[in-house]
Symmetry: C2
Subunit: 541 residues, 2 copies
Amino acid sequence: MGEAQVSLKHLFRVFTKPEHKDSKLAQIEQHLSDNILDFLSQHVVTKKTSLEEIEQDFSDAIVPESPEFVSTHAEALLEKLVAHSVNTYSPTFIGHMTSALPYFHLPLAKLLVGLNQNLVKIETSKAFTPLERQVLGMMHNLIYGEDDAFYHQYLHSARHALGAFCSGGTIANITALWVARNKTLGPTKGFSGVAKEGLAAAYRFYNISNLGVMCSKRGHYSLSKAVDALGIGRQQLLTIPCPDQTLDPQTALTEGKRYQEEGNKLLAIVGIGGTTETGHVDPLDELADVAKELGCWFHVDAAWGGATLFSNQYRDRLKGIHKADSVTIDAHKQMYVPMGAGMALFKNPEDANTVRHHAQYILREGSKDLGATTLEGSRNGMAMMVYASLHIFGRRGYELLIDQSIEKAKAFAQMIEKHPDFELITAPTLSLLTYRVCPASVQKKLQTANVKTRRSMNQKIDRLVVNVQKLQREAGKSFVSRTRLESPDYPDRSVTVFRVVLANPLTTQNDLTAILAEQHQIATGTKTWQDLEEGKYSLSH
Amino acid sequence: MGEAQVSLKHLFRVFTKPEHKDSKLAQIEQHLSDNILDFLSQHVVTKKTSLEEIEQDFSDAIVPESPEFVSTHAEALLEKLVAHSVNTYSPTFIGHMTSALPYFHLPLAKLLVGLNQNLVKIETSKAFTPLERQVLGMMHNLIYGEDDAFYHQYLHSARHALGAFCSGGTIANITALWVARNKTLGPTKGFSGVAKEGLAAAYRFYNISNLGVMCSKRGHYSLSKAVDALGIGRQQLLTIPCPDQTLDPQTALTEGKRYQEEGNKLLAIVGIGGTTETGHVDPLDELADVAKELGCWFHVDAAWGGATLFSNQYRDRLKGIHKADSVTIDAHKQMYVPMGAGMALFKNPEDANTVRHHAQYILREGSKDLGATTLEGSRNGMAMMVYASLHIFGRRGYELLIDQSIEKAKAFAQMIEKHPDFELITAPTLSLLTYRVCPASVQKKLQTANVKTRRSMNQKIDRLVVNVQKLQREAGKSFVSRTRLESPDYPDRSVTVFRVVLANPLTTQNDLTAILAEQHQIATGTKTWQDLEEGKYSLSH
């Protein structure tokens, strides 16, 4: 079935002739171009399919022997892959950070692949190199706002870098901490630096027991990957409890001092510019001062919240971000760029030199090859998508998008607070919020219950939330995610909550009303709801 | 000019309405779809433009304040960006590893962005997760060829990973060495492992002075990034001279023993499956035995050459690759997938657990979330491009492509050898070769010259090669890269050579004849050529 000819002639056709306009792949393309919402709602199935069933379609570990016609394969992609994908355009899928994208990215994606530049070095990217540098410069400017002379000097300097473009926030965070590590344990009289001599030698030379990285408990899992990969060790990721969802500067100072007095060196404090779980922003301004007092690097992980800087009304939520030594921003989050566009920005254009690499046939000394100061090597030209978005939206366009997201989140929070059977757990700082469902009567009892009863009640409510989230997802109409959180009201033990991210501009207030109504309907139909109302808190019920 | 309305209504249009069929962006798209070669030759300018001139177009570091119409911006992209890109489809651009791509990737790129899945976790990727696991399984099978029961057990196991998909070979190499490091310095009685306790503690516990990674001098620059980032230190990258372009197993053994006797621990030997500079393959089979004898990890960097395994005729060139603990392959090289598709494969499905990470709201324990064992976090669904290519080409299709590349390289090598004024420096093992231009009379004199004269002569020839490469590039018709190499004929000092990669299926023998003729014409027109013929070897001439 669908076996194509094994001949060079056929293969050359694949390289030189597009598919016929009536072919399956051309049809898919046309449908995507004409109406992507319609394409997705027609092809993504909403009925529950178990992962095991989907895995059946991807269970053969043998490279197919013979070629397949493109159209035969396109049919298979629709049935096996598209059918069981997540509809990220859907206005009622508000559980994740991916959302509908502007239309122009579809043709641009084609242009990107058609050009297929490799940004590791000038020779294989040409104009893409200055373009990427400009994008980094614009983002640097958005954060640090240096003057014209500064950007004139550094934007295209072969010996400097304002940042590193990369596949995502995880690599950006690792890059930032790599730079911090190499600078902190850098070359000096008698030591040629950690980059050359390695970490063990650096600890010996600098006479330190351990390097540490401090963040709140809401710090992204990429920080844990970073301290592992960089050789620092995950035990040295000092995660500070944060019942209020943010890192308290006084605690940071105290803990940092204590840590350093024990013979360790605090490498960095990481402030979060929009936590993945609740969207809270750490007090960046104060944390920058703490980092200064402790003599350590200050990194801000604003992968999610960085785009808030486009909004004149809300940019103050990131107050102090310009004091950071490095900042992570993901353009594939609130800048509505397709997946794969992370950035680490450096306040000091010299800092990236601490990780600079050269090679004979590539990244030659004095060249402007981007690969000399990035963790990745060969990379595609995703920066073009960011460049295009910055121009097509402009600051004011992004401002509107950011403002309406935050306002939608506020409106949704109000809806939840008004509803007797829902409880808002964390109010939105940015466009994220968390809440849970629970009979009004139980909410009331919780306020006066003793610690032990409260714990039982909360465990039972946790179960309700897990069930509702699962059943709602399986019903296929909407998707809300869940997580576990400590909160000021429940500091003794974390509780399970619904988590929503109101990033999709297509989501309306009506959608939100419907999602809440669906959750209520699902919840009240469960045995757990009944138990809660009847005061049966034991999980054995 | 081209300023669009700043209103939510306008922004919503950007998200919900495609550009009109007559718009500039739609025209670009149509042209790409109809005839990409024509699109590129029409829009990519061939006349020399200095980097400084291009930078002028990307010199503003301020985020544009107001939105721009998509079509206005599309016009700008054509003029500023596309015009000054590298035409990777051109059959006469044979200096790099990027090449023409099959047509189906253009519509698939659009589908990829339209779906915009995030492969960090199942919830945001669904069918893409099993698909990516299947792709890794197929590539694992291609290398290791385990039996059905093996793949049945591990392909979709939540507690195992056959590999890690990533943005490119650099991250793949880093991932492989990260896994090697964490396994070698893993948890044991009295020590909870390097991942948790860090590198300095691990060196103390295991009583080693240094960890080392060994490769030949042709080892990719990513290995240097890897040992830096992983805290091992660049001085511990033991690069062994290789006048024959490959790592000699006996030298590897001797050097490895010497290193370990000095109180160090050899972490890994890296064998190269197709060097970036000459396409040579290390003696993998023997190096695997050396690694075994030294008790260290064996990694094979087959970013370039891995696809040779599809060819029954040539797969023996990678003999012994199945003995590797880990292997890097880039699908965006000889698998003709767009930039951004690297893979690290692990022989032992348990090994990836040495870098496994969990988090509360994501990568939950027992989940099949891919992000738990990759260096990257959020990632796009590039695996779909590899999946589609594996099906549309099939093993036999790839075999034809690989075979014709190698045969074309052999034919080109013969052309060079026949031409009196060219000298083949390295013959093709895979589809790469290096050579230089030099008057026949000078070649003859070189054979009998004393060391000092030979050095002067070679320096002068170096200058000729550099000039010719530069002038040919600037002429814009073709592109050949250059590098510096030691070779058996010139072991005392490296020489500058042209480097060609014959990966583009569209490149014909006529193209190669023309490239050589152009180089000859350029060379004979230079003052350096004249000097060489007249015996003036001094560089001051």
